[in-house]
């Protein structure tokens, strides 16, 4: 055993004794300085390592490392003993303090519903298209087979601009714009804002949002329309929802239907929302009128198709049980952040 190893063993013993009797953190720090610090024993020994004969170097090195570790261990144990005694005094952080909340965004219920509608119809191969909100009378009425004296054209129902154009009263003009620019088959939805000259109340606003659907192809039937709406109803409100078609009238479809969903609130038993009928009117639809097809240059003998329209606000109100449409346009963040 050489001198260095002796010195190491001695130092380890000393250090362990000192560590065992340490009463303060300063005592442990002094041990570190004396043995492991830059001017301490171990760096000094390390410098002497060169004088060790080569055959002893391996053992000496091992002893050196083991000694250093033993001292470090003694210091750690002592430190742990010191803190253990003080454990009840060190409280750490108060984990019950309020966390730092990241800001969370909220999608407006109208957008949520529009997004979902578009997503559902996208899965069926519909592409979303858009059209202007400042629309001409031709696209909003004439091309949609609306008689020149149809009440919907009245000043009290439709907003007119000073240049004779209008604020579109429906998303249906997008049908015309798409058919004018695309050869059949076409398969689109058109979500967007529409305007009616209604004084805002619980169920009306100056504007609201619709999503229009249009599919023109060979041999499209009312059964196809019904099936797509049934698919939509189930995707939107769950697998138990039923739909009911009722005959109705729209100038741009023939046959025309209105479609109802079985009440999404009471499941069809009857409640306030469905006025005890068990059904909720969702919107209008039908087979595209041959006159409309002719207007855009489609041959009604070859092509047929369906169109439908949904009110986004109505869906949002139904699904989220929102009692008053005005809440949707009031933008109170306490309301918006519920969704």
């Amino acid at each position: 055993m050489n001198k260095i190893i002796e010195a190491i063993n001695q130092a380890v013993g000393e250090a362990q004794r000192r560590a065992a009797s340490a009463t303060a953190a300063a005592d442990i720090e002094q041990i570190r300085i004396d043995y492991l610090g830059r001017n301490g024993l171990f760096p000094e020994l390390s410098r002497q390592m060169g004088s060790v004969p080569p055959e002893e170097r391996k053992d000496t090195g091992c002893a050196f490392n083991a000694g250093r570790q033993a001292i470090q261990q003694a210091m750690d144990d002592a430190a742990a003993k010191l803190t253990a005694g003080k454990a009840e005094k060190f409280t750490g952080i108060d984990v019950t303090l309020p966390g730092r909340a990241p800001r969370t965004g909220h999608r407006h219920p109208i957008s949520q519903l529009a997004d979902e509608c578009v997503a559902i119809f996208s899965r069926l191969g519909f592409t979303a298209m858009e059209g202007p909100e400042l629309e001409d009378v031709y696209h909003n009425f004439d091309a949609l087979n609306t008689p020149a004296d149809h009440p919907s054209r009245d000043l009290q129902d439709t907003f007119y601009l000073t240049d004779g154009r209008i604020l579109r009263s429906q998303t249906s003009p997008v049908q015309i714009r798409v058919m004018e620019t695309h050869e059949p088959p076409v398969r689109i939805v058109a979500p967007g804002r529409v305007f009616r000259r209604d004084t805002p109340d619980a169920t009306h606003g100056m504007n609201f949002h619709q999503i229009e659907g249009l599919y023109i192809d060979r041999n499209v039937s009312l059964a196809d329309l019904k099936s797509v709406l049934q698919y939509f109803a189930r995707e939107m409100f769950g697998k138990d929802v039923k739909i009911r078609l009722r005959p109705h009238f729209f100038p741009f479809t023939e046959p025309s239907v209105e479609y109802d969903f079985s009440c999404v609130v009471c499941g069809g038993k009857g409640c306030n929302v469905c006025k005890n009928s068990g059904w909720i009117e969702i919107a209008g639809a039908g087979m595209v009128d041959p006159n409309v097809l002719k207007t855009v240059g489609y041959d009604p003998e070859v092509w047929s198709g369906y169109a439908f329209g949904l009110g986004i606000e109505r869906l949002a109100m139904l699904r989220n049980h929102i009692p008053d449409l005005r809440l949707l346009y009031d933008n109170d963040v306490r309301f918006l952040q519920q969704f």
């Binding site: 004296d149 000043l155 907003f159 601009l161 504007n207 047929s304 963040v333 952040q337």
Partner: protein
Amino acid sequence: MNISREWLNQYVALNCDDATLCRKLTTAGIEVEKVESDSTVPAGVVAARILDRQVHPNSDHLSVCQVSDGKETLQIVCGAPNCDAGRIVPLAKIGTEFHTEEGDFKIKKSKLRGVESSGMMCSAAELGISDDNSGLMILDESIALGTPIADLYRGDTRIEVEVTPNRPDWLSMYGIARDVSCLLNEKATLPEVKLEESTVANDALVTVEAPDLCPRYIGRLIKNVKIGPSPAWLVKRLESVGLRAINNVVDVTNFVMMELGQPLHAFDLAKLSGGRVVARRAKDGEKITTLDGRNFTLSSENLVIADDTKPMALAGIMGGENSCVSDTTTDVLLESAVFNATNIRFSSRRLGISTDASYRYERGVDFDMAEFASRRAAQLILETAGGVQACAPCEKSADRPAEPVIVCRFERIRNLIGTPTTNEEMVDIFRKLHLKVDEITETSCRVTAPLFRLDLTREADLAEEVARINGLDQVPEVPVKGTVCHPVTEDAYRKLKTIRDAVIDAGFTECVNYSIIGNSTALTDGRFDENDLVKLANPLSPEVAVMRPSLFGTTLGTVERNIAHGNRELAIFELGKAFCANPEKFPEERFELMLLLSGHPHAERFSQEARVEYDFFDLKGEIEALFARFGITRYRFVKLENDNRFEPGFAAKIEIDGKVVGAAGKIAQKFVTWRNASGVYLAQIEAQAFFDAERYVRREFKALPQFPASNRDVALLASADITHAEITEFIRRSHVANLESVKLFDVFSDEKLAKENLCSMAYTLTFRRADRTLTDAEINQAVDKLRERLEKELKLTLR
């Protein structure tokens, strides 16, 4: 349109209950909106026979009866004196709910003085059938046990239906009866009219000078009528559909209109100068006072019924005050006419009068019905007001319009509605709807529509009839099929959703505002003036009359309302359309993105942290993060002066590739109408900038660095006028060798520096090469060169 069940029943036997009738109406397209039944008898009360009556063991006025409803025998304790065995009486079974003026109650199984009772036998008064409360209501022996009493004493039911504009033929009891007859497989019959016509001709009674506007006019003269109240049956009919009784003659005209859909008018002959009527265009400026006392000035576009001198009625809309039937009337001229629908609609709209008559005329009345209705009304006037027909009816008619003839290809109809309806079924439906069908072959038939079905002109219209009468519930559900028609890249919604998603991900709450706003709200955004606004010709009110030129005005309102409600922490946005009438400023319609921050980013925390408020750089950071997400890198924030939206000195315009795409800053104090609020930071960005970027964003892989970077710090004293951007731009243009990035890490100023208009700025320069580790010497050389240029060319002092 109101339907009275009792009244409807006069024309078609209603062999079903109210619920079934309403369901059938709705599924056939006559949508029932409201049902009101007069019936007071609750469901659950049935006819039952008293089998046995015993004296109650514990009472001298109660009886214990065994009662059978035909299915079961129940023990009922009864206090009525007449509950004799053998009688058939109404029995309210357990569960029956009574709704009375005193309150609601439900029949339950109970014990009366110790004896069990399973129901209640009822008096007529208890069922609301009469006032008789002296004992049990005794029913006729012929009534089958178990019959619901509500079926026996139903009262009338008023059904309110929505009639679509294509079906004016549904605007009468008989018209509804015609469709109901098809739905219930019963025959619809017109009322019987027996009228002895006078043989005295009076061709001068009616003159039609405008046959284009009045294709048919039938006038009758009834003399010596006695005006008075209508008989009870007539009053009841009118009231059952919500009309008010006036006098016998007027009531008859209203009754026949509701019965047959043909509006009628009665003139007081004594008030007609010349004793005749002329259907003519009004002279320009001609005036009339209608019988509701309103004055109108007419033009040649209005049709009037005039006497020799002046208008006596607005044809098809309302009679004149000067010619109406009154208590003193003795002779009546009865009008039954067909007017041009478009013209009536025009006049009604222009003059702002809508009546039951104009409502029917503008939708189109049945050319053929005018004659029958005239006879029917004459008969009823004679019956209720007496008098005699002074002459034969005077009719002036254009040619009867041709009935539309439609070729119906059976296969085509099946293809359109997707049901396997057979040829025979289709023909049957058409016939039941009173359509004429002939030339039936294997593949098609010819359908002639009567004149009351103005809506049937094409094959598609017949398809609707088949679908409607068959029931749309018969349309099968088939697997969803369809062609993929458009590439997804055409999808217009995706680009909006991409922006919306990004902003919501960043923690903003979405707002949606109306896009029609007030002039003053619109002009709060000083970028726009009056001429830039898209204006409405017919606003709901003058205060809400223009399309928003930007989202600024409505956003101010949103903030104000929220702060008024105590919502001080706002991170909101709107992505919406804005409109501009001036193409030099903006496209007519464009999407704008508005971002807004106000309040405290960490109000949920405490102490100093909770008091920190959003500032300009929070907003700028959000915008930069958004740009990064869209791959927009070549943008700049440039100090914005003279913009009324923002507080001077706290605003920037945002440029991408040198083009202004928006602005951001602190909202000018003058707009802050709310109290105790933090600063409000708002950005408006043209959504087009994102659309453009999104379309071309391509993220390309860049190799990760293989060699370490080295940093050098440079601190400099700059004039406070020089911007961070100018310094970094200068460094960028200096093309310092191997410089990878420049980062500001400190800005410092104290009183002493401020006095000299100086500011200390410290930057970390990061150097790196892709192919090797840089040596200290070459980095130092580069930094020294840069320091020299900064001192010389930018006149900065390096520290």
